[in-house]
């Protein structure tokens, strides 16, 4: 088991290197130029050139790549070209809202989607099932930002029961304010996730309910509730957890949009602003960071299968 874990962790290294090189090359082949952005509207071509020189952007690309990889090896993601703050510090400043938003979204989505999917599977073909399926298809069909605007318009502007925007930290502003502010973004982001998980739960539970041991349990007169909970759900857990892992990438994309709509000072907006300003170190650092998170979560999920499915052994 330990050997397996070590092997899996080692296997992530080449993937990270591929991501790093890919992102670096993509950015350096870009026509945009941070020096021109920094220099401002009055700057002459000479000003821009001077700033390029000073930022080291005139070095040959392979040299820049090697310098960057060298930095990375020492755990240094570099510093923002604009604010001069270390990228790691910027990530540190912004990670809390993003992390907590992702967390509330996943928890809320699972709490809603798993029961929905299970009931839909249990009564497959019924009206409830169709309702759930329609919702889950619909959830995939509406752009996140449109959903966000509609929620703000109805709940915050018309009914005035929710704040329009912003983020409050549970650590410094209190847990009540935190939930008050995170509810709308969570709802917005959850819709697509609920759709995804409910579908997967439904499909897996339908699959399991066909199995012989369920028939046996039914024949033995066990209650439907017990059957669903003890057998069906437990065995359907693996695909459901897998889909959550895959969904992380989707979630990160959604976070970028949701943070813009609700003005949450998180990582998504950090990277978006950085792309528009060509703040290379931040873009590189963050994409690498997101990839790292994605890889780690999927690694953890793979490893957690043993927990859910005793049949899987390494």
């Amino acid at each position: 088991m330990l050997g397996y874990i070590a092997k899996r962790i080692l296997a992530t290294i080449p993937v990270m290197i591929i991501v790093a090189v890919f992102v670096f090359l993509m950015l350096r082949l870009a026509p945009g130029d941070p020096a021109a952005v920094i220099a401002g509207d009055y700057a002459t071509a000479e000003d821009v050139e001077r700033i390029r020189e000073q930022l080291g952007l005139n070095e040959p690309i392979p040299v820049q790549l090697l310098q960057w990889i060298g930095q990375l090896a020492q755990g240094d993601l570099g510093q923002s070209i604009f604010s001069k703050k270390p990228v790691l510090e910027l990530i540190g400043q912004r990670i809390e809202p993003t992390l907590l938003l992702a967390l509330t979204t996943i928890v809320f989505s699972v709490l809603v989607a798993v029961p929905l999917g299970t009931i839909a599977a249990w009564r497959a073909g019924s009206l409830i099932d169709r309702g759930v399926m329609l919702f889950s298809v619909g959830g995939f069909s509406v752009p996140v930002f449109v959903l966000g605007y509609i929620l703000i318009y109805v709940l915050a502007m018309q009914l005035k029961i929710m704040p329009v925007q912003g983020y409050k930290s549970p650590f410094t502003d209190g847990i009540g304010l935190f939930f008050y502010h995170i509810t709308l973004p969570t709802l917005t982001l959850s819709v697509i996730f609920i759709a995804l998980i409910a579908r997967m739960t439904r499909a897996s539970v339908i699959e399991v309910l066909e199995e012989d041991y369920i028939r046996t349990a039914r024949a033995k007169g066990q209650s439907e509730f017990k059957i669903l909970l003890r057998h069906a759900l437990r065995n359907a857990a693996v695909p459901v957890v897998t889909v959550i892992g895959i969904g992380i990438a989707l979630l990160i994309g959604g976070v970028v949009v949701t943070e813009s709509v609700y003005n949450i000072p998180g990582l998504g907006r950090l990277v978006l602003d950085a792309v528009l300003a060509r703040d290379y170190p931040i873009i590189q650092g963050l994409i690498l960071f997101f990839s790292f998170i994605y890889i780690m979560i999927n690694l953890l999920i793979d490893l957690s299968y043993t927990l859910f499915d005793p049949r899987i052994r390494y």
Partner: protein, 302 residues
């Protein structure tokens, strides 16, 4: 049908069963059409395609500006109202259908084609497998939206760069799917027999492996198509979409979002059009999956 099945999360599950005989295939199509939601979905989709194909012939130019009548509400003259440059929103939404459908279709076709080729190679040529799959893992680990935004900001926004930027993050999923099918199928006795008999590789791929990947690929392609249209609109929202000169649903909404509370129709009409189209595509996708995947199909039949 075989009694033992791979785990449900394994996309290959589909393929093992989709080696269908002629007679079964017929019943599959019948089944597909009997599924009422699929019927509705296909009908909706067909209407959208027809609108996209011939609609633009009957509207005014989508870029015709008339700033005097800017931000007008829907009326007999402007069915969907006008935008901030006084352009006719109805004309723009109709023309936008073309662009959005083209994006969806192009991404689905290109992603599937590249994915199929790469997946076949990765699944069959063992020496390349590890390298290709690590690259795919790397691509998958990069959040799709961020990758697309970065690529578009960098290469300049044109219709083709947007299509490419949406396509690339979709490729790894197709590759994985195809590869897993290949790995499953090549263990099958008849394929092993063919290899042992010295059948050439292209022929094996074509004759035995390709047919097994078609069904799951079609399903995958429909989902990609729907997702691509949504991604296009989100890219527009984030300011990294198709050039504003070309009306796409995403663009129209992006340009209208400042005016959301003042002139909600600018977002409303393209939003509805987009949601309905994606819904239709997904419903058809679901129907295809349910029908082509016998495990669920059997459940539906009872």
């Amino acid at each position: 049908m075989a009694a033992t099945r791979p785990a449900p999360s394994d996309p290959a599950a589909l393929s093992a069963d989709s080696v269908l005989s002629e007679r079964k295939q017929l019943s599959t199509w019948q089944l597909l059409l009997r599924n009422r939601s699929v019927l509705w979905g296909s009908l909706l989709l067909l209407i959208m395609v027809v609108i996209a194909a011939i609609g633009p012939l009957f509207t005014v130019g989508p870029s015709e500006q008339n700033v005097i009548s800017r931000l007008k509400p829907p009326s007999a003259e402007w069915w969907f109202g006008t935008d901030y440059l006084g352009r006719d929103l109805f004309a723009r939404v109709i023309h936008g259908a073309r662009i959005s459908l083209v994006v969806g279709l192009a991404v689905a076709v290109v992603a599937t084609a590249i994915g199929l080729l790469t997946g076949l190679i990765a699944g069959y040529v063992r020496t390349l497998d590890a390298v290709v799959m690590r690259v795919m893992d790397g691509l998958m680990a990069i959040p799709a939206i961020l990758l697309a935004i970065a690529m578009i900001s960098i290469s300049g926004a044109t219709l083709s760069t947007v299509i490419i930027a949406i396509t690339i993050p979709e490729v790894p999923r197709v590759v994985r799917l195809v590869r897993s099918v290949v790995l499953t199928v090549r263990e099958e006795p008849y394929v092993e027999a063919a290899i042992a008999a010295g059948t050439r590789l292209p022929l094996i791929l074509y004759r035995h492996i390709l047919p097994n990947t078609i069904a799951p690929l079609i399903v995958q392609a429909t989902y990609i198509c729907g997702a691509a249209m949504l991604t296009e609109s989100i890219l527009g929202f984030l300011g990294a979409g198709i050039p504003p000169e070309i009306p796409s649903w995403g663009n129209i909404m992006a340009e209208g979002r400042t005016y959301f509370q003042l002139t909600p129709w600018i977002i409303f009409y393209p939003g509805i059009a987009l949601a309905l189209t994606v819904l239709a595509v997904n419903i058809v996708g679901d129907g295809l999956r349910d029908t082509l995947d016998p495990r669920i199909a059997r459940k539906l039949r009872t």
